[in-house]
Symmetry: C2
Subunit: 339 residues, 2 copies
């Protein structure tokens, strides 16, 4: 056997191992973000609220516009910060008048939330369109009345023009149209990663350590819940009555079965602190605690490190986002009210 | 006289009028943002903290990074929002724990602040480098101790690498180096406008109404204080003991002579509410009130409207800014403290 033969044999083995691992990953329910734009669009679009360039651009402005909040100080981006992991890096969200989320709930990331089967920790809303209506109105978040939001937008001629461009001259600019438009922008916030490239056929996209981590992740059963394209977000699986470290969920009750939605693991290195109560700060601890509570097993330090290596392969490529120039208020724009 | 002759005569008259008006504007002390990059750089650079691409890019990240604040929730961009007019649109700034600025002071715009001779409403700091140290540490603003800021940055390997790239491997990342870097980014936030194009020789850059407004502005003496490249920011001229509408300045005392710095009029259509106490919401009212207090004259509605038309020519062209991807925190990064 000469050098070339050995090299070819090695390549074949490596390719077979890769092929076996991708096959295991797919069998475990893990799915990549498609690398075809057509396939991706099918996955992220909403037939009832189709994605168009005009809606995305307008939605981006609305997402960054703090005038949608009662105070004029808080925008969607305040707690779902696109410069960070699409969240706020706090244990529990802060909102209007510095109110801490009354359920001590951690702000989930907006990146890849389009892949979730439901929204919010208790999964109470079916999609981003419905979700976007919540925090704007919630008293401890943006605290705005629907009329405040509509009156703000319709007081600004540039916004009216952009709504007409996006929806036609007959558009009725109501609260739902505004939140639908924000949701359209959010639907585009997907971050393909090395893991997706790997599942899509590039066997060199992940390092060997990351591949080992993926195997550890699957072998330990993590993919039972963290599955699908969202690598989470497709089911509620955490029983709120479980006893776990740093348990502190205020009066949060989970969904109707007392269950909490499984969060995405995409960009997880950027979204500490972890868990729905944001009490765990390192991936090591989060992994081991999940093993104990959800899988009934002690995950060793070595295994946890291995899984953590895989999770790094889920750091996604964010699209370049230019900050919007928000149109100026007019004399008809409702005044900010910080009280 | 045939049509062509009339046309040429009209052009000549128009050109002479333009030339006379630009000459009046320059005589009144108004100066354009230069359209030559070399000339502009001379104006915005700080020899003690020279502008480089690496520092600007790093400074942009720091400007948008809420982890510099004690709470982890407030960044420079929270109150000097680059999507808005470089300010927050509120009467008085809100900061840590929703604290209202104790002097009821309005957040000034960061756009074109590089042209000011001094910073803050009382002009207490000479430049953006010194200014950037203030709000980060002020208890009612970002409320961070110097050590918090330094420990945050030095806990993040990507930031260390970027400081080395910007300043060399021997860089000492202290508080001043961090705020100097933020200031470098802020130095680039200049917004050339139609008025600048006009003063730089394009006689068609402003509309006739705007030109009339410029004349009204000069004739009424507005340019006495709103002058220089900043069209403001070069002197303190408002006596705090003046009685004016909506007077509400808490215990703010102005500078050592009881004077308040003249704000820039650049992008003024985007930075309501007005005055250092942010109590006046329309340009009409602001113009007339300034006439009464500062110029001792009643500016008519017609004159105020004319001046307002000129002010619209000060809406600047903002550079396209891509939102930064902030590097992830590590286990060594100080935890956010919202209390």
């Amino acid at each position: 056997m000469n050098f070339t033969t050995i090299a070819i044999a090695t390549l074949l083995t490596s390719s077979l191992v890769a092929s076996s691992l991708t096959s295991d990953a797919k069998k475990a329910g893990l799915k990549p973000i498609p690398n075809s734009d057509t396939e991706l669009l099918k996955l992220i679009d909403n037939p009832k609220n189709p994605i168009t360039t005009e809606k995305v651009e307008l939605g981006k402005k609305l997402y960054f516009d703090p005038r949608l909040s009662k105070s004029g100080f808080i925008s969607c981006n305040s707690c779902h910060n696109l410069s960070e992991g699409g969240d706020d890096g706090l244990s529990a969200a802060i909102g209007h008048k510095w109110t801490v989320n009354p359920h001590n709930l951690n702000s989930p990331t907006v990146y890849n939330a389009v892949f979730f089967d439901s929204q919010f920790w208790d999964g109470r809303d079916p999609d981003l369109e419905k979700q976007a209506q919540g925090p704007i109105q919630a008293a401890p978040e943006m605290a705005a009345k629907k009329e405040h939001v509509v009156n703000t937008i319709t007081s600004i001629p540039e916004y009216i023009t952009e709504f007409k461009t996006a929806y036609g001259d007959d558009v009725k600019i109501n609260f739902e149209k505004i939140t639908d438009t924000i949701a359209t922008f959010e639907r585009t916030l997907v971050t393909p990663s090395a893991f997706d490239d790997y599942l899509n056929g590039n066997s060199n996209a992940m390092t060997d350590t990351q591949k080992d981590g993926l195997k550890t992740f699957i072998d330990n059963g993590c993919a039972t819940c963290h599955t699908g394209v969202g690598i989470g977000g497709s089911m509620s699986a955490f029983n709120i009555t479980n006893t776990y470290k740093y348990q502190d969920v205020g009066d949060f009750k989970g969904d109707k079965n007392g269950m909490v939605k499984v969060p995405t693991l995409r960009n997880i290195t950027q979204t500490a602190p972890y868990f729905h109560n944001g009490q765990i700060w390192t991936l090591q601890e989060a992994i081991k605690e999940m093993g104990r509570i959800q899988l009934g097993k002690n995950i060793s330090d070595k295994e946890a490190s291995s899984i953590e290596e895989f999770l790094k392969a889920l750091d996604g490529r964010k699209a370049s986002i230019t900050i919007p120039n928000l149109p100026a208020s007019t004399s008809k724009t409702p005044k900010p009210d910080i009280n």
